[in-house]
Symmetry: C2
Subunit: 119 residues, 2 copies
DNA sequence: GTGGTATTTAACGTATATGTTATTTAACCG
DNA sequence: CGGTTAAATAACATATACGTTAAATACCAC
């Protein structure tokens, strides 16, 4: 199944190791070895390499070439798409109401308007 | 492996069917059958039922009980966590620069400050 | 070329995800 | 009760995800 871009991005972000890698890259470029260092106890290099491939396929990083190193850089464009998507739902958490409550609230407001008219 | 909450949420969101279900629930409560309707050609009821279970485990929906129906409701709290997480990276897409450029930019600002002091 | 370092790819095991059809559970209704 | 509807669960197939170790690739440096 070929996934849409947003799905690919969210899947890439759903792994804590990959999010940690992005967090590290927010501080600037890093080589694969540098990125792997924090996970050395838990994870082998090839595992990290694969995580990077997932991030790259999602467009979240790019890998350059300098001699035998492949410096990685954060590319935030897909994160913007995530932000835009989730933003649609803001109203559902900024108000401490769920959808039904919002509806009932609107009804009350309507009632008040009617009351005013009656006066 | 037991995943952290954010990972569970992002994994739940990484499926387009599940995001479509959330979009539908943004318009208000719906039963499982109602939620399944748009996918009827592609997907069986049990498949939808499982998607709902994934969303429920992520805390993105709740399912109530009314006779033989299980009306589903959107719960946006986990979406807020996603928004908060992604917000950290806003600087990386609002400016059309990557990290190195931001750094260089800061340096220039520092230089200007020094210039001012010199005056 | 030989050796060392950085990284990827190959080959493999195992767990999880996602779908199916058939069966079961639960509640309504005449 | 017996039939219908709504939804979940069971049992199963298959694909993908994620990790490992071992081997290959690419580059530098002497």
């Amino acid at each position: 199944m070929t996934l849409d871009h947003l799905s690919t991005t969210l899947a890439a972000l759903s792994d804590p190791t990959r999010r940690a890698i992005l967090a590290r890259l927010a501080n600037g470029e890093a080589t694969v070895t540098q990125l792997a260092a924090p996970f050395a106890r838990r994870m082998s290099m090839p595992a990290v390499s694969r995580h990077l491939k997932v991030l790259e396929r999602a467009g979240l990083i790019t890998q350059g070439r300098q001699a035998q190193w492949r410096p990685c850089r954060l590319k935030a464009q897909p994160l913007r798409e995530v932000a835009d998507w989730v933003e649609q739902y803001r109203q559902f958490w900024t108000e401490s109401f769920d959808r039904l409550d919002i509806y009932l609230n609107k009804m009350k407001i309507e009632e008040k308007k009617h009351d005013r008219k009656k006066k």
